[in-house]
Amino acid sequence: MKQGAPSLGFEQRASGALKNLPLRQALEAATERFIAQRASAFRDLPDAEALRKRARAIKEEVLTRLDDYLRQLADSVRKRGGVVHWAKDGTEARGIVLDLARARGVKSVVKSKSMVTEEIELNEALEGAGIRPVETDLGEWIIQLAGEKPSHIIAPAIHKSRHEVAELFSRKVGKSLAPDIELLTATAREQLRQEFLQAGMGISGVNFAVAETGTLVLVTNEGNGRMVTSVPPVHLAIMGIEKVIPTLEDLVVFLKILARSATGQKASSYVSLITGVGRDGDSDRPRELHLVILDNGRSRFLSGPFREALYCIRCGACLNVCPVYRQVGGHAYGATYPGPIGIIVTSMLQGPGGSKELAAASSLCGACQQACPLDIDIPHMLLELRREAVADRQASGGERAAFWLMAAILRYDGLYRLAGRVGRLLQRPFVRGTSIDRLPFRLSRWTAVRDFPPLAARTFRDRWRMLGRNGG
């Protein structure tokens, strides 16, 4: 069940978020911090622009020959003893995971943070089959205990205060815990350590998958990624098709960008490179490695105006700078992936005919593209979604009429001048001094929040005509 039922609509969920003062304070603190850290991390990266271009070029190469690279990846993984599964959608992916878990008699699964598993609602499926999924990323565990969805791609529980966390943990361990962050972290370490040691399967996402060597790369800070992929006897990794990259050299380019973009670190605490299963005689490795490669609508974007959306490395930089996200947080979007890139990705996952309501949730300021380490042209993709919404007749009759009228007014000079005269007449009862503080009908949406300027008594064009046309 998504946080804030989708039937409510973005505007209503956003309205609720705007009234939530603690949430807004947490969002402001978090996004400001991330912005500052990211800025300083990129400032001391000598070849930042060159890296960005390289990263784009690598992604472009991969998407152009994606089937070849996926084939190479699968061959490399299998050569090293891994098993590759292909899932065209979430249903297939869930089926693969459940089949394997049941076949191995798995009772509990430890998970490291994976947006893809959220996307396919894997936890719900596991629970439905009587298998207990345990989120091990601290932020994810917090919201799992709270029964909520993540509010930010990188920091899923930023909306929770230490007091709320203390309450959650106290209920979990059955004794009262002080809202002390060190204590709470130590509690999580202890509780989750037990889970790691007894789980029958570890499930992870994949940050990058290197085709030449069949290496799955996991970028984490807490160490749970290493635990999930080292302790349980079976490791299952799920990745979107766009995560494959050609070589280890390409990996270095992305590693340099990812940590800096996401949290402002030069490098995350841990980067795990997982290549197949170890040789017999290695005692501390999983006995099985399974890789699930998921499409779930991504292939839809491989040609066409949304291709660049597949460049996304899920760093969250666009969220931190988006004026809309900063005000309302992730839950308002009512989707797995929030924020600017989330709007595009959500449309991709929904498929043709899906609601384009979210495409309106942007002032088109362009800060997202500027912050994006891959320079993804999110604003143009938003414009394209809006165009599709109109073409699909998703706009209300009233809106279509209004824009049809606007288009006519802008095309026909006579109509334009007439509209001006009519407007100046109709506005008279509303003008108070030099501004209008209340407008009727739909226009009240403006004046509910701010004043509106009156139409000028004489337009500029009229004044120009009076002044004479001399070039001066």
Partner: protein, 252 residues
């Protein structure tokens, strides 16, 4: 759509899956893209080291510290024992697990630990399989060598192979790594050719980890805390070039 209905489903085969992708790309395949690549440096750690390992080590230790790790620069390998002993006393550790590694043997670290009353097991050699996990999970200290170290980021690179158990650097709350000068490289760019060698063949390392500082999180109120699931503290004992020439790089 979760539940028992998934049991008897059709699974997409590779050919169909990739065929669908290929046709989705369509005419876009004709595009020729020239990806910009690094001029990949074939420098081996030894060659890099010869260019002034002292400075590489300086940089490494600065970055390590910024990442929350603690560096211990000793005069020579012979002094590593002393540094380890000091560390152990300061931490109050009683049980340690250790890699079986030629460098650690040469430094005679088992003896150093025994001197301080710390019980030490080399994993997996000293321990029956069923008990390994518990032992590593209850140890206070994990001692390893490293395969490489990256000065630019203060990162250690550890490959898992027999004698180099991955959990030794993960489960105990303190991780101590011994860093000889010969394995230092300048930046991440130097790693691909090295890692390629470590990955190839049937003996390839199934797990390689880049470790940069201790485990950490800022998930609660953005307050940085160390020691979530991985080690709370990372200590690196390092020394400069020996006057006689670069330290040999040993591994299986």
């Amino acid at each position: 759509m979760a539940g028992s209905g998934e049991r008897a489903m059709v699974r997409t085969e590779q050919a169909e899956f990739l065929g669908h992708i290929r046709s989705s790309i369509g005419s876009g395949r004709e595009r020729t893209v020239a990806p910009i690549r690094f001029a990949s440096s074939e420098a081996s750690p030894r060659a890099e080291a010869a260019q002034g390992v002292g400075r590489l080590l300086d940089r490494f230790l600065v970055e390590l510290s910024l990442a929350g790790g603690t560096g211990h620069r000793v005069q020579s390998p012979a002094h590593a024992q002393g540094a380890l002993r000091d560390l152990v006393r300061a931490s109050g550790a009683r049980r340690a697990v250790m890699w079986r590694h030629p460098l650690l043997a040469r430094l005679d670290l088992r003896a150093a630990l025994a001197d301080t009353g710390v019980a030490c097991w080399e994993v997996p050699a000293d321990v029956p399989e069923g008990e390994r996990l518990t032992l590593m999970a209850t140890a206070d200290l994990g001692v390893t060598a490293v395969d490489y170290a990256v000065a630019d980021t203060g990162s250690l690179v550890l490959c898992s192979r027999p004698g180099q158990e991955r959990l030794v650097s993960l489960l105990p709350p303190i991780h101590v790594a011994l860093l000889p000068p010969s394995v230092l490289v300048s930046g991440l760019e130097a790693l691909p050719p090295l890692l390629r060698r470590d990955l190839e063949g049937p003996g390839g390392a199934s797990n390689i980890v880049f470790i940069t500082g201790p485990s950490r999180t800022a998930d609660i109120e953005l307050s940085l805390t160390q020691g979530v699931h991985g080690p709370k503290a990372l200590h690196v004992i390092a020394w400069d070039e020996e006057p006689g020439g670069p330290e040999g790089r040993d591994h299986l």
